[in-house]
Amino acid sequence: MGESVITAQVASAVKADAPPAIVLEGVNKWFGALHVLRDINLNVAVGERVVVCGPSGSGKSTMIRCINRLETHQEGRIVVDGIELTDDLRSLDAIRREVGMVFQSFNLFPHLTVLDNCTLAPIWVRRMPKKEAEEVARGYLNLMRIPEQAEKYPGQLSGGQQQRVAIARALCMKPKIMLFDEPTSALDPEMIKEVLDTMVLLAEMGMTMMVVTHEMGFARQVADRVVFMDRGEIVEQGEPESIFTNPQTDRLKLFLSQILRGH
C-alpha cells in the first residue's frame, strides 16, 4: 500500500522542465563573528539526489538546516518548492510540510510508540483522520522493512531500526523533498547498511534528496551530483565519478585522501 502511494506521488514530481526544488542564492550566515556559510549558490532540481560532503565544521549541516529553517540565514535567498523562506510563519509552515528531515541522532519522540511517532504530524499538521494516518504509517514502516515494530517504543529498537523509523516518520508527511543530516554517523557499522539500503530505495523511487554524508559508496550509487564544501563555501561539485576520481582542487584532494585512509 505504502509503495503505491509513493510511486503516485513521485510520478507527478518528476518533470524535466519543472522549477527547481531548492534554490540557494548568495546565502551567507554567521554564528556570532564566525562566518559559517559564504555565498552559497546551489540549485537542486526536482527528483535530483545531491550528496553534500566535506570536513567537519565545513558548514554542510548548517546549510541543510537552513533549508527548513532550523537555522536562519542572514543574507541571500532560499526558495524551497517555489516558496521563499522568510520570517513569515505561514511560508515556514508550508515549507516544513513539504520538506522531511532525518537527523544524525534520530530524534524520535521516546514517549510515543513507533506508530504514534509516525502519525503525529499527519494527524495534527495535515489534519488526516487517525485511521488513514495509521494506514499510511504502516505502509511506510513496511517500506522501511520494520512493520513488526509499530507498537514498540523507540527505546526498544536498535539504532538502525530507529533511524528507519525516523525516515518513515518524515515520509508520512508525504514530503516532496527529503533532507538527511549525516543519517548514518551515529550508527554502528553493521547498521549503516540497513539504513543506506532504505535510502537507496527512496532514491530509486525518484524522491528529491539532499544528503549530508561521508558514505562515498552511497554517493557513487545514487547521487546525481556531489557537492564538496569546506570552510563554509562550496569548493567543487559534479558527478560522483569525476569528483572522486578526478578532483580539481587541493582541498578536495586532501579531504578524499583522509576519507579513503579512514576506510
Binding site: N68, L70, D93, R96, R97, V99, G100, M101, F103, S105, F106, N107, L108, F109, P110, H111, L112, L120, A121, W124, V125, Y153, P154, G155, Q156, R169, A170, M173
Partner: protein, 380 residues
Amino acid sequence: MSDITLDAAARAPEAAPRSAPITAIGPIAWARQNLFGSWWSTAVTLVLAYLIVRWTIGFVEWAFLNAIWEVPVVNGQAQTQACREIKGVGACWAVITEKHRFILFGTYPFEQHWRPALVCLLFVGLYVVSAMRRFWTWHLVPIWAVTLTVIGVLMWGGVFGLPYVPQERWGGLPITLILSTFGLAMAFPLAILVALGRRSKLPAIKMLCVLYVELIRGVPLISLLFMASVMFPLFLPEGMNIDKLLRAQIAITLFAGAYLAEVVRAGLQALPRGQYEAADAIGLSYWQKTGLIILPQALRLVIPPLVNTFIGFFKDTSLVLIIGIFDLLTAGKTAIVEPAWQGFGIEVYVTIGVIYFVFCFAMSKYSQDLERDLNRHRRR
C-alpha cells in the same frame, strides 16, 4: 564464528537450574551479611535493636495499654483528673474523643458539621477520580467544576434551605483541603506558563516571568500572607473588601506557582534540543510542539520534585494561622486552650500529624506508581 557457539551450545549437556543454597539467599543469609557482618556491625545491631524494642514497648504502653479513651462530662465540663494522674504514663485520647469535631471543623456551627464532613469526602473523592488515568480526559474539567461548586454551596449555604455560614466560621480540615487543592490546581497551570515564558524568545515575556519568580521566591510565605491580609486591603478603595480566605488563597497560589515553575523549567531544560528540532521539522506549531512533545516528556521527568513541592505546600497551608484562618493545625491548637484540656498537646498533635501523614503519604505513593507507569517507555 556464530556457528561455533551454536554447536557448542548444542553439544554441552544442559545443567538443570538449581536454587541457591539456603545460606546464600533468604532472610538468614541477609541478616548475617548485613546485620552481623563484623563485630562492629553486630554491636550496632544489638544496641539499635534494644533501643527500638524499648521504645516500641514504651509507646504501646503509653498509647494503648495505659491510655484513657473517655472521661466523664459533668455539666458540660470534662472531668480530666484521671487524665492528669496518668500524665506521662498513658495517653489521654479522651481529648480527641471530646474535641475531634472541633479539630476537624473548627468553629463551624456544630449542628451543621455534616456539611464540612461531606466536603472532605467530596475532596477525597475528587482526588481519587483525578488520580485514575482512565479519567484523564476532558471529562475531568466538568467533574472538577461541578464538585467545586457543590463544595462552595455546602460550605457557604444560604441556598436550598441550608443556613448561611460566613467564611469566618469555617475551619479545620476543609480549610486545609480548600487552600491546598485550589492553590495547587491553579498554581500548576500558572507554573507551566511561567516556565514556558522564561524560555520565550520574546524579551518582555521572559523578563516578566523572571521577575515574578524571583520576586515571589525571595520572600517568605509568611510575609506574603501578611501582605495579602494586612497591606493589600489598605490599597483598596473604601468599602471594597475581598474575602480573607480568597486573599490567602491567591498568596499561596502565587507562591506555589513560582516554585513549581522552576521545577517545570528544570524538566524543559533536561530535554535534548533534538526533540524541539524534530518537532519543528515535522511542521508542528509552537503549542502543538509544547503540548504533544515537550511537556509530556518534561513533566514526566520532574514528577519526583513536583510531588515534593506539592507535599511541601500541603503542609505549608498551616501558615495561614498567622492571619487568623483556622486550618487543621490551628484548630487543633485552639482545642486545647480550654483549661480542662490544657497540657494535652501531644495527643492532639499526634492525631493531626497522622491526618497530614495520610494525605502526604497517599500523594507520595501515587506519584511513585505514576512515575513507574509513565516511564514504561524508558525500560527495555
